[in-house]
């Protein structure tokens, strides 16, 4: 298990990405899976920073933890921002609408949920805990 604690600001996104990619590497995830996991966490963390903290007039840290077992890599992100359940965000606009007519909402969450095998959220005391789970494939498994 490894941990990371960083400030809840956009400046931390780079460090978080490095942490996630390192954990993915250690878990033996392939490049595509690692990219998707990094994207998922980037999207949720960005929303926590912008809406859980800044948008609510709050400041705080982000605490990440990663564990690997036989089957999966699990990374959790804990923050002390306002209650924010990413799963409650409405889906993005119909993805068939041309770009010019799209509104901006929901894309980040959609990408996050689409790119990991499992996503969990819970509110514990004054904290949000977002958990990302990616299954480890053996090298002989077909895509």
């Amino acid at each position: 298990m490894s941990q990371l604690r960083v400030a809840g600001s956009l400046d931390s996104l780079g460090e978080i990405a490095e942490y996630v990619m390192a954990a993915a590497g250690e878990a033996g995830l392939d490049q595509q899976t690692s990219y998707r996991l990094r994207l998922a966490i980037d999207e949720i963390v960005t929303n926590i920073i912008l809406y859980g903290y800044a948008g609510a007039g709050l400041q705080g840290d982000l605490h990440l933890q990663s564990t690997v077992d036989e089957n999966a890599l699990t990374i959790s992100v804990v923050d002390t921002g306002v209650t924010y359940d990413p799963r409650q965000t409405p889906s993005p606009d119909n993805l068939d609408i041309p770009l010019e007519q799209r509104s901006m909402g929901g894309l980040g969450i959609y990408l996050a949920l689409q790119n990991v095998d499992q996503f969990n959220y819970e509110r514990v005391d004054d904290r949000n805990r977002s958990t990302f789970i990616v299954h480890r494939k053996t090298s002989s498994a077909a895509e």
Partner: protein, 112 residues
């Protein structure tokens, strides 16, 4: 986060070379280049993505912004997008509003 967005405008064609990693912390840099291209009334916006290793939804939002800012008559080209970046654009339906090319094609792009 290592990122750069370099703008070159010539004969009505705005080219922005994107390098590194495009997330929410650096998306404003990209957007300000799009604003400059729009201010100069470029007729084409070409995004050169060979060296763009990562793009989050903030990058997609910047594409929406580019389309809306430049106007519906302006074609938006994406050149050399890496597979994972392209995949994100496809999964979100963005590929339908851009012209994706593997390489810069002067005939296709510069024929105004």
């Amino acid at each position: 986060m290592a990122f750069s967005a370099d703008l070159d405008i010539n004969s009505g064609i705005a080219k922005i070379t994107l390098s590194g990693q495009l997330d929410a912390s650096v998306a404003p840099d990209f957007q300000s280049q799009v604003e400059k291209a729009a201010a100069q009334q470029a007729m084409r916006l070409v995004l050169l993505m060979n060296d763009l290793d990562y793009m989050a939804s903030a990058g997609l939002r910047a594409l929406i912004f580019a389309k809306q800012k430049m106007g519906s008559g302006v074609a938006l080209y994406v050149v050399g997008a890496q597979p994972q970046v392209m995949e994100v654009m496809q999964k979100t339906g963005f590929d339908r509003s851009i012209i994706a090319l593997e390489e810069y094609d002067p005939e296709a792009i510069e024929n105004l």
